[in-house]
């Protein structure tokens, strides 16, 4: 059922949430994994506690390790106690929630496991009277195709009297070919409107607020184009390293881990045209148009248009930290980039000639994600400065994390007499934590609920994910030859390699100091 088909409930008038999902069963593949324990089940428990899940909601965890229902529930109880947003576990609420949690032990490639799953679902659904199913692929990506195919073979991808959907975790492929192949496999057994490709970044309130900020306020959109904007900087900095994910990171690097998904999602939200409606496909159509209009960086220009870095040992917040090559499961001569700066252009009417600079890295001095819009200078320097320099440009910065907010820098006269006016940049600051002092729900809560409601606005569509890979692929191709830069080339706890500063300075600009 789509949003358009929702039956209107007169009791919803005036209530904040417009509906709750229909009763359904969530089947988690990879139920023994970290994601299930740290994010998924705690998010479901929190939703249940707030009364946002429907009556008749069940969870089936599927994984390879042998376990009873009771053992699985007990594991999940520990996970919820540790990771739930609401912190203290409420015994009666947990008992009621846990009563509908089940475990199905099976190898993902074993057809018998899917027969067992089908029989379990039949039993659950005979009690609830509802046949809605939501599969969640929380396994390593190598199992995605296998699971989808097996679900298809077992006839579990559709039912006559309910909906069936599937959520696919990132990374979605490791290049354009593998992403397209995965799409083909998924779409051979599911239809596109059943597939929910998750990018948890889109579930963050502040990311969604980019759209509200741009399209619910009349004052910004008229100046949101090449006539007024000099350039845009998107920064996604992390102070942490790879957190024991050496095996994954060696194959991914920052370009696959962050740039292909999170960074390009932020880019498309910041640069998209206003959608005709706030319907899933209307929003996603506009995002895809941005990605398609991004000027490709061909392999032969990849070296020139990007700066790669890899962190060496250094000090962050007074703590000595190891270099990337000293991390577990990382090659001693690894050429994987942990930092990337790049410049791109969007060849459309709105953005022609406006450079977008994106930088992202591990072990940078602080964790911060920001979109900064740097406006053009006034056409005439009316106020001479004492040292002959130009006045700082206006900057509108949207901070996504950690201290979510929006600030605007503008020039103001320094008080005091004198023939020469002294002008200093001042900041007009809005922080979410200040104006809305409530904790935002976890991104997974929002996205799980949306997928149960059939709202795909915050999920990535097939063409979107392939357009993102189509931009990234030629860059990674271009890096294979010639030799990668001499790594490590930046110290942990610094803002990346010197080459990144020189890279933007060549255009007469500089990175924002964050």
């Amino acid at each position: 059922m789509t949003i358009e088909e929702t039956v209107e409930n007169p009791l919803r008038v005036g209530l904040r949430s417009q509906r709750t999902p229909e009763p359904n069963t969530l089947i988690i593949f990879g139920a023994s994994g970290d994601l299930t324990q740290r994010k998924l089940v705690p998010a479901l428990y929190d939703l249940s506690l707030e009364g946002l899940l429907p009556g008749g909601f069940s969870v089936v965890g599927m994984a390879r390790r042998p376990k009873t229902h009771s053992e699985f529930r007990s594991e999940m109880k520990g996970a919820v106690a540790q990771h739930s947003r609401t912190k203290s576990l409420q015994p009666s609420a947990w008992d009621a929630f846990a009563a509908n949690i089940y475990y199905c032990q099976a190898e993902f490639n074993d057809p018998g496991g899917y027969i067992q799953l089908a029989s379990m679902l039949q039993k659950i659904e005979s009690e609830t009277g509802c046949h809605n199913r939501l599969y969640y692929l929380a396994t390593p990506p190598r199992y995605y195709s296998e699971i989808a195919k097996r679900l298809g073979e077992a006839g579990l991808t559709a039912s006559d009297d309910g909906w069936t959907r599937i959520i696919v975790e990132k990374p979605f492929g490791r290049d354009l070919a593998s992403a397209a192949e995965l799409n083909r496999t998924l779409l051979s057994v599911f239809s596109e409107d059943q597939v929910y490709r998750i990018d948890h970044y889109l579930g963050k309130d502040t990311v969604q607020n980019i759209l509200v900020f741009r399209f619910a306020n009349g004052i910004f959109e008229p100046i949101w184009d090449r006539r007024y904007i000099d350039h845009v900087q998107i920064t996604m900095a992390e102070s942490i390293g790879i957190e024991g994910r050496g095996g994954y990171y060696e194959r991914a690097g920052v370009i696959r881990d962050i740039i292909q998904n999170h960074a390009l999602q932020l880019l498309s939200l910041a640069a998209m045209e206003p959608p005709a409606t706030f319907e899933p496909d209307a929003v996603r159509d506009e995002k895809v148009k941005v990605l398609r209009a991004v000027r490709p960086i061909p392999p032969e220009d990849a070296q020139e248009s990007t700066v790669r870095g890899q962190y060496g040992p250094g000090v962050i917040s007074g703590q000595r930290v190891a270099g990337y090559r000293e991390e577990d499961r990382v090659e001693a001569d690894s050429a994987t980039e942990t930092y990337l700066a790049l410049r791109l252009f969007i060849d459309n009417w709105r953005w022609a000639g406006v450079p977008f600079y994106i930088r992202s890295g591990k072990r940078l001095p602080k964790r911060v994600t920001e979109i900064a819009i740097i406006f053009r200078q006034p056409p005439l320097a009316l106020f001479p400065t004492t040292d002959g320099s130009r006045i700082e440009p206006n900057v509108l910065s949207i901070t996504i994390q950690p201290d979510e907010g929006i600030s605007l820098n503008f020039g103001s006269k320094v008080p005091g007499p004198g023939a020469a006016l002294r002008i200093r940049p001042v900041e007009m600051d809005f922080r979410y934590g200040t104006s809305f002092g409530v904790a935002a729900p976890d991104a997974y809560e929002r996205l799980l609920l949306d997928s149960m409601l059939g709202d795909a606005t915050l999920f990535t569509r097939r063409d979107e994910v392939e357009a993102a890979w189509a931009f990234v692929n030629p860059i990674t191709d271009g890096w294979t030859n010639p030799e990668p830069p001499s790594f490590p080339n930046y110290e942990a706890g610094t803002w990346g390699p010197d080459e990144a500063d020189e890279f933007i300075q060549r255009d007469g600009r500089k990175w924002r100091r964050l």
Partner: protein, 389 residues
């Protein structure tokens, strides 16, 4: 040297205000004292980053007596984390023989997140006595921060003909009351007056008693969002509401009547003339619905002492029953269940904390205009209270 010492003393004084102390100021100097406070705070980097003042609305509170004022102060302190505002509390003593007006300023500051700046909002307290009470609006109005919405929180039974109430009402966008505080025998008349006032003006009315129902309404709506529950919504024929009550104390039926009023207004149920004899302890009446009639029972439940709604059950002609009930052994939770004739059904436990006054006020401060659902509900509830007149 002397200048440096003076400056330190001034800083110490302002730091004390930001730490929660109240400072008495001359009434005409309130604005300039606040300006000084924030200037000093912005320059004071002793504790790291300077504090910032935040303000998203004006909140004017009215209290009679110091105890109520203290309570309002505590609620505003909790609310200011979510709604940093300029709050102006009027502490009125209209019975005092001599007229007087004095002012003090204070601040509500939040503990900052690691690395973040401390965010504070300001409070002005005006103590008015005797004849000065009627004129205190003349002091309040110039203190309102321009361009921001004005909420008037009248922490008492609002006197529609009172001069101060009228004057403050003229300058506010939103009136907040709590009908749970009204004497039961006056509730219908007071709500009727307030309904008239809001109908005749652009002022939006909020009742914290209505806000108490938000979670109940959400849970009830969930029953009928989708099949199989949706099909029974038009076939409901009985509503039972139980109110927690304390033995020997008259139960407050208002919250229950608002809940029934909400169902009636949303589902098009109408009260037939003469079908109801209003009572203050329990009520039973019939409403006309599209499918026939709906039997309504609103009763106090002495087995569940306390306050607020205890349980609600909705029954459809086919035998479907939808119920919500606070748990007897854990009042922070409730049981939500549906029994359907086709054999399917469910029961689940959800969080049902009794919301604090600060939570309720905070929810109301979120609203930006008229709440049509509440206004329609109120119209119905008032009809039930006065017997369909």
């Amino acid at each position: 040297m002397a200048e440096a010492v003076d400056r330190m003393e001034v800083l110490d004084e302002y730091r004390a205000i930001l730490s929660g102390e109240t400072r008495r100021v001359d009434v005409p100097a309130v604005e300039s004292e606040l300006t000084q406070l924030w200037k000093a705070a912005a320059e004071d980097t002793l504790e790291g980053q300077p504090v910032v003042r935040a303000c998203v609305l004006n909140l004017v509170g009215y209290a009679q007596g110091d105890d109520v004022a203290q309570h309002i102060n505590e609620v505003i302190s909790q609310v200011s984390a979510r709604h940093p505002s300029r709050s102006i509390i009027i502490v009125a003593d209209p019975r005092a023989k001599s007229a007087g007006l004095r002012a003090s300023i204070s601040a509500h500051c939040q503990i900052p997140l690691a690395g973040g700046r401390q965010v504070c909002s300001e409070q002005i307290t005006l103590h008015a006595s005797g004849a000065a009470v009627d004129e205190v609006h003349g002091t309040v109005l110039p203190l309102l921060v321009p361009g921001l919405p004005v909420f008037l929180w009248w922490h008492d039974e609002p006197p529609p003909d009172n001069h101060l109430f009228q004057e403050l009402l003229d300058s506010c966008d939103h009136l907040v009351i709590d009908s749970a505080d009204f004497a039961p025998e006056r509730t219908a008349a007071l709500l009727t007056d307030l309904q008239r006032i809001t109908q005749e003006s652009d002022i939006a009315l909020s009742d914290l008693n209505w806000s108490r129902l938000t979670h109940w309404r959400e849970l009830v709506a969930q029953f009928f969002d989708a099949s199989p529950g949706r099909q029974y919504l038009d076939r409901l024929d009985a509503v039972n509401v139980e109110i927690a009550s304390i033995h020997g104390k008259q139960p407050d039926l208002t919250e229950g009547l608002l809940l029934i009023g909400w169902l009636a207004s949303r589902l098009g149920w109408v009260l037939e003339e003469g079908a109801l004899r209003p009572r203050l302890d329990a009520m039973s009446f019939k409403l006309k619905s599209g499918a026939g009639s709906v039997t309504v029972k609103l009763t106090p439940d002495p087995h569940h002492p306390g306050e607020g709604l205890h349980s609600l059950s909705l029954r459809a002609a086919d035998g479907a029953v939808f119920a919500i009930s606070r748990k007897a052994d854990d009042e922070t939770c409730g049981v939500v269940s549906a029994e359907l004739p086709e054999g399917s059904g469910y029961s689940r436990v959800v969080q049902m904390d009794l919301p604090s006054e600060a939570t309720l006020l905070s929810d109301e401060l979120d609203s930006s205009g008229h709440d049509a659902a509440f206004e329609e509900t109120l119209a119905q509830a008032v009809r039930f209270m006065d017997g369909g007149q």
